[in-house]
Symmetry: C2
Subunit: 539 residues, 2 copies
């Protein structure tokens, strides 16, 4: 292992499997609920990232998954991945060929099948309610049947590690049964997620030595060690790793595909995704978060927006000397970027660096930098955050550099009315009164909510004077209640992201209520957008 990637082959091959189960096991995460369209979109992202296998779901168990396999075959031209159907060994006491669930796996058309098998004696007895011998027969028969049908078979040994601790001999018999019946890989699953790396490594090593099977690893993150457990298995000789995008999964989650891939590629020097794919990792991670409708974790290793962000004053001054002394890899290798954070804790060095990032040379002017630092501290005390609102910070900086910078409009007043009428109809209306280019403007907007109505009123008031507004659109809108614990009686922070098609920027507003906070963020967002478009300010 070294921290630099040695020379490596250009494309992954079958000797090592990067197997993704976001669409099956990842979907078990609390709060995730995927439509077929979502699953197709995620499958495209995963194929682009270059995983070898995409487990799509359990056809037959669930009409949504059956439909997914049909549509994936018809609609997606996979470049890298093979589609995998997940299912269970046959029921006790029936032939595999007569088991409807097993037949659905064949009918899915997937070239690869993952079979889940019990390998913990108590689970066989209490959950399956069959004998240990019949469970072995179920594994053998189902693997053999699927091989006859021309499928490649992987077997997931559920609860393997707990089973191994309870009865190692039986757990290994299950592995051997799967291997001898023709399974290509036998995957040892830490289903309850209680293992630590040293245990995983010892068990994988023994199973490899005693069974001769090709071994894979499936780790859950209940001890916070799923990535390390996955790598420990690889260190012991596993050549197939099961992961989920962003670590989604039941309870705490699964081994996270992205840090596992980055470690294998950058620290182990193994080519597990195609050339160039790692640089897309940050984008793909965020895109999948969008599809599942979860906010991307800002602190996710490698791909989080904070992963290469520096705020300590101590570091900021040294980073000016040599950034590589303060990051374990170049963020560009995984498609991320280094960021300097403007925050209360930061000293002058951070503000100077951030100014430079934005194109302002502040190093000569100690008094100006001091004023900016003081203003940031004062605003952050009120609840503003500039770490996530670069455009608002740049406007603050412009104000300090140019004196109060001119803007494009000046507010006189606004009002929003939201109404639930007798009978159930709703109405949302907003009126703004503004001054722009010397004119007084009164405009009204309707929308599906008060902020939407306010946004439309502002646009309709200004668009005659500033046709550039037509290009600007809101792409994200986030609300955060500060000082939790006071119910609806708290400070509200709103973050808005706006796009003009070629770039995105974020702004912040803070106020007692959500509408006033939204107004501030919208005001900054439109002002910044017009400045970007090169429009000359004129109130």
């Amino acid at each position: 292992m070294s921290t630099d990637a040695p020379d490596a082959p250009v494309a992954p091959d079958d000797s090592f499997h990067l197997f993704d189960t976001t669409l099956r096991d990842g979907a078990q995460r609390e709060g995730i609920n995927l439509t077929v369209a979502d699953k197709l979109t995620i499958a495209r992202h995963l194929d682009e990232f270059g995983v070898g296998f995409i487990e799509g779901g359990w056809p037959g168990a669930n009409p949504r998954d059956t439909e997914f396999f049909e549509r994936a075959r018809a609609e997606i031209d996979f470049r890298h991945a093979q589609l995998v159907a997940f299912g269970s060994t046959r029921k006790a006491g029936v032939r595999a060929a007569d088991d409807a669930q097993v037949r659905a796996l064949v009918d899915s058309g997937a070239p690869v099948v993952t079979l889940v098998a019990k390998s913990h004696d108590r689970h066989v007895e209490l959950a399956l309610r069959t004998s240990l011998e019949e469970n072995l027969a179920m594994v053998r028969d189902t693997v053999a049947y699927l091989r006859e049908q021309g499928r490649r078979v992987f077997v997931d040994c559920e609860h393997f590690f707990d089973g191994y601790l309870a009865d190692a001999a039986y757990a290994k018999q299950v592995v051997a049964a799967a291997h001898e019946a023709g399974a290509d890989v036998v995957v040892l699953c830490d289903t309850n997620g209680g293992m630590l790396p040293a245990q995983v490594q010892a068990v994988v090593r023994t199973v490899l030595a005693d069974t001769g099977a090709r071994v894979g690893i499936h780790a859950q993150d209940d001890t916070g060690c799923a990535v390390a457990n996955t790598l420990a298995a690889v260190d012991a000789g596993a050549t197939h790793v099961q992961c989920t995008a962003n670590g989604y999964g039941e309870r705490v989650g699964n081994a996270n595909l992205f840090p596992v891939t980055a470690a294998l590629q950058l620290k182990y020097g193994k080519q597990v995704v195609p050339q160039g794919a790692l640089e897309e990792m940050t984008r793909i991670s965020h895109a999948i978060a969008e599809v599942v409708n979860l906010v991307p974790s800002t602190h996710q290793p490698y791909v989080g927006t904070s992963a290469f962000a520096h705020k300590a004053g101590l570091h900021a001054s040294a980073i000016k000397v040599d950034p590589d002394l303060y990051q374990h890899i170049e963020p560009e290798l995984v498609g991320n970027t280094m960021r300097m954070l403007v925050s209360d804790m930061a000293g002058r060095a951070s503000v100077e660096l951030k100014g430079k990032e934005l194109g302002y040379d502040l190093e000569g002017d100690r008094e100006l930098v001091g004023r900016i630092v003081a203003r940031v501290k004062e605003q952050e005390l009120k609840g503003y955050t500039y770490e996530a609102a670069d455009a608002s910070f740049e406007l603050l900086l412009r104000d300090e550099v140019h004196g109060r910078a001119r803007r494009f409009f000046r507010l006189e007043s606004w009002r929003t009315i939201v109404e639930q009428r007798p009978g159930g109809d709703q109405a949302n209306e907003a009126t703004v009164k503004l001054w722009a280019k010397g004119e007084r403007i009164v405009a009204t907007g309707e929308g599906n909510g008060p902020v939407n109505a306010l946004d439309r009123a502002l646009r309709s008031g200004l668009e005659r004077l500033h046709p550039e507004l037509a290009k600007l659109s809101l792409v994200d809108y986030k609300v955060r209640i500060l000082e939790g614990g006071h119910g609806t009686d708290s400070t509200t922070r709103v973050l808005v992201s706006m796009s003009d098609g070629s770039g995105e920027w974020s702004t912040v507003g803070v106020a007692d209520n959500i509408i006033a906070a939204s107004w501030q963020a919208l005001d900054d967002a439109y002002t910044y957008g017009l400045l970007r478009a090169g429009v000359e300010p004129h109130e």
Copy 2:
């Protein structure tokens, strides 16, 4: 290592150090900004949890930290922890006794000092701009001076692992210099967080063998392996672990105190916190999240609300047989609880279990359970979530059990007006028109925002008829914009938590706009609160 805790001594002793640096290194996390009062509150929580050492900050470098040490000494009667001041070795070319920063460490009154020292040759040259020999002298002199002043000294070797890879001999000289000058522990820091467990283990083992120093570990989480790296160091012989609550820290964060403690205590059988403290872990984790004003991570190992939550239909039916087959520890050991999630993916078994948890025996009635499952699916399609809104689920269940259950009021209409007036004044007003106990009620409320005004209007309209409302208060209010990517033009989900002093419940509302969604959640929350109070429904 075993998955059950063996017999262990009752209280931790000095042979193993649980060292917390939330207040110093944790505060470097993007988005965290602690006041002195925040730091005092967190210190009390950490002491209650029973860590051995609390690093409070850098006195002298920062007036807030200086004040913290003064007030902590005066105001907190620590039961378990010792307070630690963090600082740097003396400047190059001055005597330790003449270095103002070093004197401030002594003046802080903290009985223990952690000194940060450079141990990577390039950092000495490029960041400190001094010679390798002078750096060793700085370590020796500062440790010796602080020992003379009666302080216990730990030395943090910054960038140790990168330094070791670059020049192992020099890195070890720094450890030896600290050790020989009287440092009690020399802490090997993976400052850039790029290490993996196997590397950490090998380096710690060599340093221990070659220097004879007592060794500690400080791991950052940039590879997603900070918990595992910490445990790997312990496996190699380290007896001092530095962590932060909830893993807060710069970039991705630090080794998370809670899974490290749980692993040491439950998996290694080491008594690292006092008897009974582990059962408080979930509560303390969430309390600290409240203080730093971050939403507690729902998926944090051991303490997340999802950490013992089950939604897979497959598992739900087996969990009925034996819950211990499906969890790696009993959640009560860490103060958490098992939860069954009601979700679209869940089958009948989950709904039956959840009903049982709420006191409804549904097992006999297949048709009823089917209707509930169908209704949950239909609502979740619209954006409702019952996983985080138990009270709304119970109301749904009551509606299905009793037919449309009677409520306490029936809405005719509501209206909110939010206004920013010329001159900057704001006004928020809401009017509700309701029917309750046969009366038509019209009530108006003012507030600091539209939802607060609506809440007050509803209360003022009903409190004469239902004086029980006086006991109910909103304790949390969360807003989530669904279908991100559409700006202000999206569906809004509101979650409300309400308390009556003896218990808390959560409800959900979903609508095009935040106010309508808030109304639904408030409606459910008050209805549930009145039912809890034993009030007879009467519209």
